[in-house]
C-alpha cells in the first residue's frame, strides 16, 4: 500500500499506539481525582503539554487540549469575539473556519473574506485596507490543506499589529505542523490551532495555543478542566499520544522536511514528463513540500482516484472533509483561478516523512498505465 493522503490523516506511530494503550490500561485515572491514579494521570497530562509546547516553542501553560483541530478553530474564533465586531479571514480556509464565519455573518458579524492569488496567497494590500478600528480578529491558515500554500503569517501579523493594536490573530496551524517549522513566539501569534492526527498522532485530540495573557472565553463549559478554558474529562490516552507524536516529530525535523522536499521534487520532475499536467502547488517557497496538487487534463479526479486505488495507492480529490457532498464542492481551486477543466482533474498527493522515494516511482508507474486508458475512454 502507498499512502499519499497524509493531509487527510496519518498513520499513528507505533510509539504513539503504545502510549495510548498504556494509558487506557494502566494510567486510566481521572486527572482531576485526588488519589494516586489521578495524580499519575495528571503527571502524564503535564508531560504531554510540555512536549507539544516544545514543538511550537510555546510555554506549557499556553496550550489547551481539545478534541481536535475543528474544535480548536471553533473555540479560538468564538472565544475571541463579541457581538458586532469586524472579522477578517480568507476564501480558502478550512471549513471549520469558513463555515463558522458564514454562520457568524448570518448572526450579524461583519466579515471580510480576503481573496487569494494564483499561488493561494492572501492579498496583503486588501488586508491592510480591510483592517478597521472595529476589527477584532483576523483568522488565516498557516498552510492550506489542498494546495499547500504557506501564508506570510509574520507579515500578516505585523500588518495587523501596525494597523490595530486591539485586533488579534488566529492561525489555523493544523496543516502547518510537521510541514513547516512552527514557532509561535517568533510569529507572535495570539491563537493557533493544532491537531494530532495530522502528525502521526491519534484522532480525536488537538490543541489550541493561547498566548499568555489572552482573555479567551471558553466554548465548552463545565467542570473547569484546562484552566477553565475547556471543560470535560481529559482524553488522557489521546493527549499523551499527541505528546509522543509531537516529541517524535521534533526529532530531526529538518531532516524530515528535507526528505519530504526530495519526494516532492522527484515527483514533480517525473510528472513534468507527462502531457496535460498542471502543477497547482509548485516546489517553491510559498508551497509546503508535503502537498502536491496536480491537475490531470481530460481526466476526472474521482475516476483517477479509483484507478489508483486498484494499485493500492491512496490519494485525495479536494479535501477529505468536503469530498462527500456536492454542496461542499471544492472552493480552493476556483479561488486560485483554476478553470473547470483543471478543477475536475485535480488530485492531491500528500506526503509524510515516512513515505519513500520508491513509492513515488511506483505511483508514477501506475499513472503511466492509467492515464492513457482513462483519457482514451474520455475521448
Amino acid at each position: 500500500m502507498i499512502y499519499f493522503d497524509n493531509s487527510a490523516t496519518t498513520k499513528p506511530r507505533s510509539q504513539v499506539v503504545h502510549e495510548v494503550t498504556e494509558c487506557m490500561e494502566k494510567c486510566f485515572g481521572n486527572p482531576s481525582s485526588a488519589h494516586r491514579l489521578g495524580m499519575d494521570a495528571e503527571k502524564k497530562l503535564k508531560m504531554a503539554r510540555e512536549r507539544v509546547a516544545r514543538l511550537i516553542n510555546a510555554k506549557p501553560g499556553e496550550l489547551v487540549f481539545t478534541s481536535g483541530g475543528s474544535e480548536a478553530n471553533n473555540m479560538a474564533i468564538l472565544g475571541a469575539i463579541d457581538k458586532g465586531q469586524h472579522l477578517i479571514t480568507s476564501r480558502i480556509e478550512h471549513p471549520s473556519v469558513l463555515r463558522l464565519f458564514e454562520k457568524l455573518e448570518k448572526d450579524g458579524f461583519p466579515v471580510t473574506y480576503l481573496d487569494v492569488d494564483r499561488s493561494g496567497l492572501v492579498n496583503l494590500e486588501q488586508l491592510a485596507a480591510a483592517i478597521q478600528e472595529n476589527t477584532r480578529l483576523v483568522s488565516v491558515m498557516h498552510v492550506n490543506n489542498e494546495i499547500g500554500t504557506i501564508q506570510p503569517v509574520p507579515k500578516i501579523i505585523q500588518l495587523v499589529r501596525e494597523k490595530n493594536r486591539k485586533a488579534k490573530v488566529h492561525v489555523d496551524g493544523v496543516q502547518a505542523l510537521g510541514k513547516v517549522a512552527v514557532d509561535v513566539k517568533k510569529l507572535d501569534v495570539d491563537l493557533m490551532s493544532l491537531s494530532a492526527h495530522k502528525i502521526h498522532g491519534p484522532k480525536g485530540v488537538g490543541a489550541l495555543y493561547v498566548k499568555n495573557g489572552f482573555n479567551l472565553k471558553p466554548l465548552m463549559i463545565g467542570g473547569g478542566q484546562e484552566a477553565d478554558l475547556r471543560s470535560g474529562t481529559e482524553n488522557l490516552p489521546g493527549i499523551s499520544g499527541f505528546g509522543v507524536a509531537a516529541e517524535l516529530l521534533g526529532e530531526d525535523l529538518e531532516a524530515k522536511l528535507a526528505h519530504v522536499k526530495a519526494l516532492k521534487l522527484y515527483f514533480i520532475t517525473m510528472l513534468q514528463a507527462l502531457d496535460g499536467v498542471l502543477i497547482n502547488s509548485p516546489a517553491d517557497d510559498v508551497h509546503a513540500d508535503a502537498i502536491l496538487n496536480v491537475s490531470f487534463e481530460d481526466v476526472k479526479g474521482e475516476v483517477l482516484l479509483r484507478a489508483l486505488e486498484d494499485y493500492e495507492i491512496y490519494v485525495s480529490t479536494g479535501s477529505a472533509c468536503s469530498a462527500r457532498k456536492a454542496a461542499h464542492r471544492n472552493y480552493v481551486l476556483p479561488a486560485i483561478g483554476l478553470k473547470e477543466r483543471h478543477i475536475e482533474g485535480a488530485i492531491r498527493f500528500s506526503f509524510s516523512h515516512l513515505n519513500k522515494l520508491d513509492e513515488v516511482e511506483k505511483a508514477m508507474a501506475a499513472l503511466y498505465k492509467i492515464l492513457p486508458v482513462l483519457r482514451r475512454v474520455k475521448k
Binding site: T9, S67, G223, S231, R324
Partner: protein
Amino acid sequence: MSTAKRIYMDHAATTYTHREVLQEMLPFFTDYYGNPSSIHQFGREVKKNIDIARERVAKAIGALPEEIYFTAGGSEADNWAIKGSAYANRKKGNHIITSVIEHHAVLHTCEYLEKEGFEVTYLPVDRFGMVSVEDVRNAITDKTILITLMYANNEIGTIQPIEEIGRLAKEKGIYFHTDAVQAVGSVKIDVKQQNIDMLSLSAHKFYGPKGIGALYVRKGVKLISFLHGGAQERGRRAGTENVPGIVGLGKAIELASGKLDESVARITGLRDKLVQGVMENIPYTRLNGHPEKRLANNASFCFEYIEGESLLLNLDLKGVAGSSGSACTSGSLDPSHVLLAIGLPHEIAHGSLRLSLGEINTEADVDYVLQILPEIVDKLRQMSPLYEKVKG
C-alpha cells in the same frame, strides 16, 4: 514497585478501558487509520465501522442509528444539547428548567445562557436528592422550551423519575434533555418509552475510552450545531471522527448492555454490603442519596467531624482510591453543591466520601475497606476537638 493492595473504587470518576474494547480499537490505530470522509476504499472501510458503532449505541438506548451523534464526551454533549436547543428555539420562548444538583457541564451552561437573556429555573431537590415531578410541572410556563435534568446524580447516585418527567414534557410540547453520563451502562434506558428528546452519554464511565461520547437527538428536534465546519455527523458535528474512540464506545456500550442485569445484581450486592458495614460500624455517619432509587455502584457517605480530603489521603495510603464529591470538584475547597442541596450543613458536607464500585471489585475488596475505614475515621476523629466534646 510496591506490591501493596490497590483497590479502585472511583468508577464514577472514570473507568479503565475494558480489554475487549481496547482490542476492538487497536486495528483502527495500526491498520484502518484512514479518514472516514475520504472517498477511497481506505476511508470507506473505516466509515463502515463508524456506522456499526452508531447502531450499537442506538440499540443500547432504544434509539435509531440516525439519532446518534458522536461527540468528544459528556460535557460536549451537554453543552451542545442545551445551547443548541436553546438558540434553535428562542423564538418559541426563553425559559429553561433544570435542577440545583446537575453536573457543572449543565449548570454552568445554564448560567451562561442566563447572561445571554434566557431565564432558568433551578429546581430544588429533597433530602434524598430527588426532583419532584410536581415542581417541574409548576415551573413550566408558556415560555419554557427545555427541561434538562440528569438521569442519575454523579455524587450521590440518586435516580430521577425520568419517565414521568418525559411524559410531562411531551404532554406540554417541551424538549426534554437528560444528562445520562452516570446512568448509561448502569441502568436500562429506552429513550422512546421514556420520552427523552436528547440524552448525553460518555464512554469512559462504562469501560470505554476517554475523549468520546454521544448525544442522542430525537428525529425532528431543532438543534443548532455546536462545532461548525466539515460535513461529518451528517453536517451536525464537525471534525474528523475519532474513529478508534467511536469504535471503542460502540463495543463498550454493547458489552455493558449485554450484561446489565447480571452486573447490576452483583454490584448492588457488594454495594449494599459496603453501605451496611459502614453504617453499622461507624457512628455519626450518613448515607447520601436515595436509599433505593440509586445507582447500583454508588455508595456516598458523610462522616461527621472529619475532613473528606484527609480521609481520601489516608485511604489512598492504604491503597484505596475513592473520591470526595465528584472528580471535577476534588481540587476545590468548597463543599459539593449537591451535598449542600440535599440539606447538609457545610461542616458535614466537608466530610464526604464517595466509593463507586465497578466490575473489578470483589467481596474481598469490600471486606478490606470495611476493615480499614472505621480505623481511619476513628483516627481522624481523635484529632478533632469537636469530636472530643461530643464524645465528652
